[in-house]
Structure formats: C-alpha cells, structure tokens
Symmetry: C3
Subunit: 253 residues, 3 copies
C-alpha cells in the first residue's frame, strides 16, 4: 500500500501515480492533494493525525517549498511504515507517532540527474517511493540509492505545545479544516467539567457535539484528534472566531 | 467494492480509508467528498442518481449534521447493495432506488465507546462499513453489532415531487451541479414537443443539447437524471437563472 | 489500467466509474476532474504532459462542449495505449506523444440510443472505455461497435508553437496550474545562459528553482514540461504577471 499526499492540486499527482505504476503494482490511496500551499507545518499536523490510521504502508509526501535546492530527499522508516519526502521537517511528527517507542531510521536518497528542478515529486520522490514499496520496509538497507543518515542531521519540526495553568491555556491554531473548524494545540482535557470558556476574552459554551448549540452559534469542543476546537454548528469557526493557522489563542476557564 | 461519500473535503476521508483498510481489502471508490456541507437532501439526491450505476457494493455515506447526538448509525440492505450511514434520511432515496420492488432491510449499529463525538465517520461508520463488506450483504444477520430495526422507525426523506398540470409545472430545485446546471424536480416529459417554456415567467428555448443555443445563452433541457435542467451553454445556469437549491421553480408551456 | 480525466467536478465521474466497474475489473486512476471547464486546449495540453508517465493503459477523457451534437465518439490507439473521448481534438496531442514515431489508429464508436443527450461520459464513453480495456489495445479490431476511421477525418488540435529569434520569443500561455504557475509555449532553452529576461517588457530574474528568489518575488524558470514558466516563489504567477490561458507573451533576452 502506498499513500500520496501533496499540495499539488491536479493533475501533477497523476504524473506521480503514472511513474509509480510503471515500477510497482502498489495499491494507491490519496491522503490529500490540497494541503495549504507550501505550509510544511500544517501538512505535518494532518499527516501525524491521519497516517497512523493506515495499516503498514509507504507514505509519499510532497510539500516542498525548497524543491530544486540542496535540501535532501529522505526515506524514513518508522515502525512498520516508511515515509518518503523532502528533508524539511514535514515527515517528522508523523514518523515519531508511527514509530511509537522505537527510533526512526532515516535514509538519504541519492538523486541522479533529475529531469527537472521544479517537479521532484515526479522525478525523485515518486520513483523512490515505488522502489521502497517493492523493497519492503525491512529491505531498505538493500536499496542502492539509500544511505543511512543520522537522525540528528535531519531538519526537525515539532508542533508547538500549549502552556497550561489551572486557569488558562495559551496556545495557537495548528490547522483549520475544510469545515472551517479551528484546531488549537490545547489538549481537550482543559475543557473537563467546564460549561463555558473564554476564547481570547469572549465566553463561549463548551459542547460535546456541534448540535449542542443552535445552528450558526459558536462552541468550543474536543475534536477527533483530542485538541480543543473552536467551531460553529453548521457554520465556519474560522470566520466566527477570526482565527487562522498560527494565530495565538488564549483559553480561560 | 466499497464506495465512500461525504461532505468532508480532505483529509478526513483518508482517515476513514485507513480504518477500513486495516479491516478489509475492499476496493475503494470515491463518490464525492465535496457534497454541499451538511445538506442531507442534496446528498440524498446525488446518491440516488449515482449509486445505482455501481455493481453490488457497500456504500459508506457520511453527511451527518447530527454527529455525536443520539441519532442512530444504520446499515441498510437494499437489493444486492448495503448502505452505511447516519439515520437522518440521507440513505433512503438511494436505498429505495437500489431495492427496486424489494423491501429495504435496516439494521442499527451498536456504538461502543467511540473515540470522538465529532468524527463518527472514522470511529463508527468506517469500521461498520468494513465489517459489512467482509460479512457480505447476505451475512449482515450474523454481525453482532447489528440489530434489525423496523423501517418505520427510521427517519424518512422523500425528494419533493413537482405539481403538474397540462400547462404548468410547479416544482423546486433539487441540486446545482459543479457546472452550475440547475436540476429541478420537473420530469423531462414536461418539455415534450415544446420549443420554449417560461421559467419563472421568462421564456427560454428548449434544447436537446447545450450546443443548441449560442455560447452564453440560456436553455432548458432534460438532464441525465431525466429531470428538467436550467442551463447555460458554456456558462452557469445558477447565475443566469438566479436559482439555487430548494428555490421554487414554475415552468409554463 | 484505466485512467479518467474530465472537467466534471463531482459526482459525475463516480457515475462513470460505476458503469465501468459493472463491465470491467480494471484498476482505475484519476488524472483530474477539474480541468478548466470545456477548455479543450488546456485539457489537451495537460493530457499530453501527464499520460505518457503511465504504463500502457486505456485513457478515458471527457472534456466535451459538444455533447449531444453529431461530433463522433472516438477510440484512438496510440502505441501501447488507447484513448477514448470526443472527436474535438482533445485526444490528439497526447495520442501523438504516446504513439511516438508510429501512426495513431482511430476508430469511431457506434452510439446506440444513449440514455441522455447531456451525459455521454456515462452513456457512451465509459462503456466504450470498459470494453476497450477488456478487449485490450490489440483487440480493438474485434469490437463490433468500433469502425476504423481515417485519421484525416478527425478534428485536429495542435498546441501553438512560439516564434523564436535570437533575441525574442513570441508565444502564448498554454495553461495555468493550480499553484498559479503560468506555463508558456516558449522552449526552456530560450533561457540558456540568461540571468534575466523581459516578460512583456518587464525584466524578471531567471532562476533554476523557486527558492532562487525571495518569497513573493517573480521569476522565470523552466517547468517540469520543458517550457518557460512565469512564477512567483510561494505565490501566484498568474496574478503577479497578469497572465491567463491563451494570453500572448513576449520574452526578450
């Protein structure tokens, strides 16, 4: 199984699929190709949340504002999974989550004369992902084009954690989903036992479900990833709260 | 075969696919994940039109404004197909069409401690759909988590029918497609033998094809579902006619 | 393998997939369903660039402003591939590229009583593509519904070529991708050895990678298809250059 994720829109992902299918009979599953453009952190967040739902697989990830520069191309073994993508941090949070208590094993991909400097998804990452799929997660060491790399040499990316006191959580927006739900980095437990909280100074009801407030009304709830979300029942939380990715959020009990 | 339909955008459908693929080797086919948000009736219309094109399959449908409330999760056997989704009516028009002259057989899914109150697609419906796929449409009775339910206990949803006289059809807009074509609930036969009709008072030519009028011009035609559509050749009918879903439409010969 | 491309959005492509899967067990791969609406030339460009990445396959293409008129439905054998779609030129550039030095072999599809005049994707092209897939590229002659057609009877479409002198290239915009990158028809070699060029009179740096200029800055580069692109690092070239599909572009050294 080989999943694909990018910020490419269409039809570039199809070019990657063609390249893969010339080398491999892998089952292909799209994760998303409309990640916020060149937003490495947002992609890293979504991948960390979604990829662990999959059975063991190779995950091809191309969110790559540095395409064509000398940033490395990586394959990272994490538990039973392998991730393939640029060395800009986008793979790291998902790799840590997939590896659990085990270390992650990174490899650098040797790049021979790519056909382009602007489409490494097609020319570098897709062939590497197909080869990794064919070799299997346990066969990475046998792939000529891969050289083991010390994990400390890789670009790291850690999603920010909220500061928590009894009375207050100071965090930020990790992502806004397609419904307009605003995903913060405040752990859901902060809402335990509360009927309202103040979001950047304005009191909002805490609800277990969207339907706990009237359509069009704001609420704060715990999202499927376990974080506090700022939402609107049948509406867009980002508009109603005036929040977007990376904005600071303060919650007060 | 297992089809997926939702109003989720991305990447939530990928989380559902991961969950399914941990339990089943089913072939997955996307129907749409950009159904109008939380618009149960529009989704019900499209599913009724599209799902009967498929060979026998399990159809996972998550358009679910009541997620996390006490609305039931359903599996509905309809002919050789099974539908899985919330008890809000969204499955009913497709189930009736798929069952033909046979009755539909509904089951309620027992929900044990879902991980979230906001993402039953991942935590309730996807595992149920995978299990239904593995059991097969004829094996639903053997699934522990399913209890037969009287069809009359289910939320029903019937798409409205137009009022027809010889001279006039009074109906409404069922859906607007991605081209901007306005799909009414007036049967195509209403146009038989007519060269023009009045749409909400304005005369418009009847055409068999978009190309029967000049680019940019309005026409009324019979869409692929057999209903009267208000369209523009190489343009958007919704803009040109000022019509959107649920608006009333009167056609006069 | 059977690829699908259209300007349909959703959920119409799913109806085509259902029809195909009732006739064939083919692996389905989406190329794109959001091609610019009814823009035959833009689709022809993207298909020429993307389809050659695939191993031998049947390629179903429905960008068809003339649906329901008497334009023919075609199957075109090109090398190890077959293309299925309307006779409006959209298949031609990809067919020529796939056939290489070999001739292309066109067939006209006999259309018996389609169910609709507005959805030949479902009623004509999808069943034809499934049948072609089952017959195989070498078995087209045995399909009853196909009649060989002289290639000169087909609508041709050739993507325009730029006029080149030593000092100046006069071309046009072939396509704008989802990043907003403006793809011209000027061969990338025109940039060889240049540090800047003038685009419609304004000097812009030539870069090998997006990152060769600061975020938000314009550059001219060679895209993955080998043509000159007018881009912005982490921004939209179409907005910054004021260019859209079919606009004229003059590059001066």
């Amino acid at each position: 199984m080989l999943t694909l994720a990018s910020d490419f829109g269409t039809p570039y992902p199809a070019a990657m699929k063609g390249v893969i299918l010339r080398r491999s009979d892998a089952r292909l599953v799209d994760v998303a190709h409309d990640f916020p453009r060149q937003d490495v952190r947002a992609a890293a967040f979504w991948l960390r949340e979604v990829l662990p739902e999959f059975p063991p697989a190779v995950h091809l990830v191309v969110v790559d504002p540095g395409v064509g520069t000398d940033r490395d191309a990586l394959v990272v073994r994490a538990g039973d999974h392998a991730l393939v993508g640029p060395d800009n941090g986008v793979l790291r949070p998902a790799a840590r989550r997939l590896a659990g208590d085990d270390p992650v094993d990174p490899f650098v991909v040797r790049v021979d004369d790519p056909a382009s400097t602007t489409f490494h998804g097609r020319d570098v990452f897709a062939p590497a992902a197909a080869d990794v799929h064919e070799a299997g997660v346990d066969g990475l060491g046998a792939l000529d084009r891969l050289s083991p790399a010390p994990v400390d040499d890789l670009v790291d990316l850690r999603l920010p954690e909220a500061d928590l006191t009894d009375a207050r959580a100071t965090g930020e927006v990790l992502a806004v989903d397609d419904f307009g739900n605003v995903v913060t980095n405040v752990p859901g437990e902060f809402l335990d036992g509360r009927e309202t909280v103040a979001v950047n100074g304005e009191r909002v009801p805490v609800g277990e479900t969207f339907a706990s407030v009237a359509p069009g009304e704001r609420l704060v709830t715990v999202g499927s990833h376990g974080y506090v979300e700022c939402d609107v029942n049948r509406g867009r939380g980002d508009d109603a709260f005036g929040l977007e990715t990376s904005d600071h959020v303060t919650l007060e009990r």
